[in-house]
Symmetry: C2
Subunit: 222 residues, 2 copies
């Protein structure tokens, strides 16, 4: 993101080319999609080629955090290196009069940057809480993490300085000559919602879920 | 996939390390998750680092196809090179007694391999149809693609020879000493379904959606 606003990418490598009219580099728009998403797909280069791993994540202003076990091979390969973090929210399928104009309704963010390993204890703990609370704020209701649990967890920080966002809504953009034809065009929305909480099989009777869990039941997921 | 079955990865680079007990290399299990997913996250290496792009996809036996505009920078960078294609289906959030045991319910496939550009006309057309029909079979109801549309579309094939699949269901696996504590543990399912078809703004009145579209309305998305 730059002070130049939403029309100018912070670097050439995040410049939108295809469907650029659907996208921007606007900081707030990037945040909105990251806050709506649940899973990040993290791309890392290994000696055997790229690898893409789905991960939970959290955000603090213009920093995105991912975490995993200290021994996680993808995180270790990512430490100090260039990564790409992509978050996609799928909103539906778009059906064109021609398959060429099929598409999807989606919101997505692509972040490119160097992954910094978080070592300071306070940032490490804050990042774990951000990741834990990203969708459901259960941290304050849970048993606090032990020192051993914290030591076993590696956190990487990726700056949102180089990020683009793309949003595709609406229906197909078909060829003008197809509009009078016999073929249907439109969209099929994807509707995602959180269901009722399911207690663990080993839950002691009488323990009720925290309000952050019950509050989310029945709500739209994105 | 190898004849050795689901316990043996076809290569070291796809060996599951973390949570290996949740995964396999079983061909049918890989297919089931790929057929349930909608969006693939395709990882490619560029001179400026890795990039991960969300794409639709299709599958024909042990080949996965993705497509895009001939000028698509990520596809061009991928042509003939090693890529990683990851498909994730999110089924819910798992809430542990401790944040350390938070997790997600998910099904995911990670494919690593070289991306081959499809040049033969028959395979190209078949791949376009597979991608188009992956979730909703609209191809036969649509206006057939023109030669110009086909020429503008690039298709890459990625073999499923090196693929792993991971499935996480159920609830948290907490510390034994936490089970008698006061903290709730369980899961919040994510329920996704296809909504009612929405006609395009420019749809001529009287054109009804094909049965493949109306059949999917109200059904579970995965």
């Amino acid at each position: 993101m730059t002070d130049a606003g939403d029309a100018t990418p912070a670097s050439e490598r995040i410049r939108l080319r295809r469907g650029a009219h659907l996208g921007s580099y606007d900081r707030d728009s990037v945040h909105v999609v990251l806050d709506a998403g649940v899973v990040a797909h993290v791309g890392v280069v290994t000696p055997e080629g790229p690898v893409v791993i789905p991960m939970g994540y959290g955000r603090d202003d213009d920093v995105l955090y991912v975490h995993g076990a200290v021994g996680n091979a993808a995180l270790r390969a990512a430490e100090g290196e260039q990564v790409c973090v992509t978050v996609t929210v799928l909103d539906g399928l778009i059906v064109g009069r021609s398959p060429f104009h099929n598409s999807m309704r989606y919101r997505s963010v692509v972040v490119r940057g160097a992954a910094r390993r978080v070592t300071a204890a306070d940032e490490h703990m804050a990042a774990l809480r951000l990741i834990s609370d990203h969708v459901i704020s259960t941290w304050e209701h849970a048993r606090p993490p032990t020192d051993a649990e914290i030591r076993k967890t590696m956190v990487l920080a990726v700056p949102l300085a180089e990020a683009s966002v793309k949003v595709r809504a609406g229906g197909p953009v078909d060829e003008p000559e197809d509009l009078d034809g016999p073929h249907w065009g439109g969209a099929v929305p994807l509707i995602s919602s959180w269901g009722d909480p399911e207690p663990a099989d080993d839950l002691v009777s009488g323990i009720v879920p925290p309000s952050s869990v019950t509050d989310i039941a029945g709500t739209r997921a994105t």
